[in-house]
Symmetry: C2
Subunit: 136 residues, 2 copies
Amino acid sequence: MSIKTPFVAVDGIIQLFDSNENFQGIVLIERKNPPLGLAIPGGFVEIGESVENALVREMKEETDLDVEIIRLLGVYSDPKRDPRFHTVSIAFVCKAYGSPKAQSDAKEVRVFKIEDIPFDKLVFDHAKILRDYLMR
Amino acid sequence: MSIKTPFVAVDGIIQLFDSNENFQGIVLIERKNPPLGLAIPGGFVEIGESVENALVREMKEETDLDVEIIRLLGVYSDPKRDPRFHTVSIAFVCKAYGSPKAQSDAKEVRVFKIEDIPFDKLVFDHAKILRDYLMR
């Protein structure tokens, strides 16, 4: 049986809080690999791991944060959303505490207040994903 | 770049109505291929199609019904949910009118009232998916 399906990835909208539960902002990364630009942290799901485990792993790898998943936001699968190849992304809303640090997969990690998110700098369909998040 | 991710599939909980908007039941199929048993209709997403288009195509191919998507139910990705290989399934709730007919991919199509769904006959994690649907 020869099955070919799109790649599966996860993306996480990380709501960052301080230890007093004060909202600090949304965590975005400056991508190290093409397409270059600002992105919601995320990555590919590995064979053998659930999408939830992939999300927690990828958030740690890119931002050093230990996230808690709050809810599934949506599934983004337009064949043109990733300029490299067809990738289906499962987007989650999550929560974390502490200070993010850019890890191997990210050039830089930044925290944005809702009103300061630079929608025009976002790669893929991440502006759409963030708008969907803000409108629910 | 060598990327390997799980396969992506879609599954649809079809709420069937008659032309007077009377609920007829949930559409399930008797699988033609292993694992044999009763299943929510579904299938693999093709490269180049969105998960929503894959859902509409697969429902037509298996039941002959033209479905309308109502909402995303969830993403099911336990590596052990499919005994053959790791498949991530995106499950939708949808709606259709008319009479289902078993098409090429299904041996038989059946319509069950909620209280008559034979949970113990369902393959994969479809009993769990149906329970999640009924509990929301």
